[in-house]
Symmetry: C2
Subunit: 347 residues, 2 copies
Amino acid sequence: MDIREIAKLARVSTATVSRVLNSVPTVNPKLAKRVLDAAALRGYVPNTQARALVSGKSRTFGLVVSEITNPFFPQIVETFGNLAVANGYEMLLASTGNDLKRMELAVRRMIERRVDGVAILTFGMEDSLLADLRVRKVPLVGVVVGPTVPGVTNIRIDYRHGIRQAVQHLAALRHQRIAFITGPLRLMSAMARKTAFEESMREIGLYAPPELLVEGDHTVEGGVAALGRLVRLAERPTAILCSNDMTAIGVIREAYELQINVPNQLSVVGFDDIHLAQFITPPLTTVQMSQSELATLAFQALLAARERPAQTRQSNECVLVTSLVLRKSTALVLGAQPIPRPPDFIS
Amino acid sequence: MDIREIAKLARVSTATVSRVLNSVPTVNPKLAKRVLDAAALRGYVPNTQARALVSGKSRTFGLVVSEITNPFFPQIVETFGNLAVANGYEMLLASTGNDLKRMELAVRRMIERRVDGVAILTFGMEDSLLADLRVRKVPLVGVVVGPTVPGVTNIRIDYRHGIRQAVQHLAALRHQRIAFITGPLRLMSAMARKTAFEESMREIGLYAPPELLVEGDHTVEGGVAALGRLVRLAERPTAILCSNDMTAIGVIREAYELQINVPNQLSVVGFDDIHLAQFITPPLTTVQMSQSELATLAFQALLAARERPAQTRQSNECVLVTSLVLRKSTALVLGAQPIPRPPDFIS
DNA sequence: TTGAAAGCGCTAACAC
DNA sequence: GTGTTAGCGCTTTCAA
């Protein structure tokens, strides 16, 4: 069944059917109704491939993430996908696992399917991803940590804001020995978080000795291992800030194993605020980086690029702010004396 | 850049280029090399829409799930997506939230993009999903709980096997008051799990009184609420089997809140074995329903349907078995006397 | 305002 | 074994 069949049934030309289906306003309402009725009668659905072929637009956006099974990403996929559908687009999903081969495969798929734009939300716009897509003038948006990437919409994450809040929150609870468990330091995003931590500490006159900066890998297992190392220290930390929530979950799990009470003997703060963070025991205090906001920023940038000619697209930049969410995994440092209440002003 | 440009560069016809690119074996290797070189030189990538248009196959499979943010599904999406790519397909993802409107939208999208098959992994092949796709002879595969659905590949889940193992495991730990927290009972899958529980109990001469069967909703919050109700009982259960892992996580969280030790004062068993189950505290004993196996079964069925003409496709059925995974959230019932060791045979 | 017809990039039947 | 060519289903000039 095709447009010709509907045209014949409605006794108009295929051009008119096409116009009606694309809401071209200059069509006689009488004819339009005939077309719509015919289409409904036959259950006609236009063929997207034919449309794409002639229009040169696939109405598909690519979304590149690190790993769908990483709890950080499903919310992004969900939001991006919903926005896509709401705007008549489809989403081409690629999960690269930060692996070069898979990145190249992802790019190849995007090009084959002629996507109208690609959002790279792997927290590092790897060159292997960019080069081919650039040549083909595919609109690009991605998360940036270092210098602004030219010819691309940059979503800059303000790690500092949330991490500073976390550090100051811990300091307010009288913590001084605050450890930081990093992510894999080859990832720019992990590096940026670590740097933000160090700067935030320095800012309030605290010092994080090297033994309190331990490298994790953004997995639960990594958190488990990292706590294992930290408790062997002569002087243990009283609080731990983690580079992501999965790490924090690992820390809490291992603390339980080691009979260390969280938050009373050890305060733990995560990063990301994945959905699950509020449901672990105790509910995790963490720095929120809104996944839905990130996905929305990325999608909007792609949608905007659609209208604009390629040369007008100078690299613009937007910022995603992070901020602390207080839950139950932090407490006053053990043995801290409450400051005595001053005599009441009135009585 | 198109096939003609490559043809000209390689001094052959477009037909030959097409043959080379599709690995038709009867092409002169000399010419083939010229074509491949030309394509590589120009970075030529065939246009999938044009291919789809002429071949009538989009090389896209639809995947319908309930909710990507439900931790059960990302692994399915991952596996299905990887298999798709490995076989030259793309995945069209739809998340319906068991909502009628969204289901219909999903079907519409699938039809518009002319998918070559649809896997419905929402644990209930809703009629609103099936009708339209059937009319258009789209190969279908789905999870079935009740009677076999005709004209579709049915993946039947053997809930009984795993749940029976769970019940017998608890019984072996001397539990007699075993509660079951169900999912939303309008879902056939939740109903099937509940039934499997009741039958497994009866089978070993245990009885689950109505007050020990409480309705949850497959969320963490639901688990929290359900435990709240169970602890108010005059005679509390000593073990709880949950209809899914999220519920179990909720139970464990609330137990912590109520100072009930899991597993020593309360044994908890989940269902699904989501990735996270092994990382909560204590690691969750649960009934595994392999997500990757499910996705693989679904994908293979779609791939197989591709070769077969529509009428040959009588509804075939395959089974996915569930089975208990032992971790740390269950223990001997409190106060159970160990059975005294008999005098040693030798001494 | 509507229709006729060209053509998007590719595959496959047919001819050589 | 290779080339010529007719479409796949649609949009979009252009002419009426």
